[in-house]
């Protein structure tokens, strides 16, 4: 059941990559990458719990923090056209 949910989420990531390919603007791609990142974090959590939960949860915790910082870096870059103006 856990693995089935993970496989389902991976299939959804496949479909979301279409928006990453065909987004008309950069923020579309950003939203698609954010969605894919959180789906993949959930896949990471589910597979980690399936295999050996005590070791793998830290990876997901670190990944959510870094994903958030990533999105803000992209937003800052896109706000000014460069990282600092």
């Amino acid at each position: 059941m856990i693995l089935a949910a993970a496989v389902f989420l991976v299939i959804l990531v496949f479909f979301s990559s279409w928006r990453l390919l065909r987004g008309p603007t950069i923020p579309d791609r950003l939203i698609a990458a954010d969605t894919m990142g959180i789906f993949l974090a959930m896949v990471m959590l589910l597979t980690g719990v399936f295999y050996n939960a005590r070791l793998m949860v830290d990876v997901v915790l670190v990944f959510t923090v870094l994903q958030f910082v990533d999105m803000l870096v992209f937003a800052k870059y896109y706000e000014h056209g460069e990282l600092f103006k």
Partner: protein, 234 residues
């Protein structure tokens, strides 16, 4: 013609790699001598539960010292290339909501990095990963509050001080190893403790701490030097 040739070469190389990967037996690797020694002797010889961390910071600690020297050389090169005579660029950040939220979240990130550094011998992680998370705090300050905030809170001199402290901690543990066990970076058995508890695993914990401080401060210096603008030459 060129595309055709490229396709043939790619298909040939891919097929060869695939065949090679398929022919590796699974059980052969783990029954070999070195990996069997690591599997059996890690807990009794070092007291650490995390085998990767034990290999990196106990059996091959001299190698890790060389790696941290590489980071030191990289930081020196980047600071020499991108000159220090620069302006603190901007105080413009993101919107107020993001700033307030990160006022709550940044101590959490710091706590997470300290957890990953100090639990390097028990759970996945260690000095390098936690150090990169420490460097992410500088990225957060520069991105969200503007880089003048980062300059006022953590000036580059203090980052250099932290980096040097980390390197000296690493070397100091090595010299204590000479005094206690007779070899450089040796793991003194008096510090070993009960495996599985937090104050255990001998010299792995202070080496993790030193590597974490060094990597965090070094990568923070690299990022801070890269986002600055150089002064225009008048």
């Amino acid at each position: 013609m060129k595309v055709f040739l490229t396709a043939i070469i790619l298909a040939f190389t891919g097929g060869a790699l695939f065949v090679n990967l398929g022919s590796i037996p699974d059980s052969f690797l783990l029954s070999h001598t070195a990996s069997r020694f690591y599997r059996e002797a890690v807990v009794t010889e070092t007291g650490a539960l995390n085998t990767v961390s034990a290999i990196l910071y106990d059996f091959r600690a001299f190698d890790s010292l060389g790696e941290s020297t590489v980071i030191f050389a990289t930081v020196s090169g980047i600071v020499l290339l991108l000159s220090r005579k620069t302006l603190p660029v901007s105080s413009a950040g993101l919107s107020l909501i993001v700033k307030r939220t990160f006022g709550i979240l940044t101590p959490f990130v710091f706590l997470l990095s300290v957890y990953i550094i100090l639990h390097g011998h028990l759970s996945p992680g260690g000095g390098f990963q936690g150090g990169v998370l420490l460097a992410v705090i500088t990225i957060i300050f520069c991105i969200i509050y503007g880089s003048s905030f980062d300059l006022s809170r953590y000036p580059p001199q203090r980052k250099t001080l932290i980096e040097t402290t980390g390197a000296l901690l690493f070397l100091g543990v090595g010299i204590i190893g000479i005094a206690l066990t007779g070899s450089f970076l040796g793991n003194p058995s008096a510090w070993r403790g009960v495996p599985g508890t937090l104050p255990s695993a001998g010299s792995i914990v202070p080496i993790n701490l030193g590597v974490g401080l060094k990597v965090g401060a070094g990568l923070a210096i690299i990022f801070y030097s890269m986002i600055q603008k150089t002064l225009k030459r008048q």
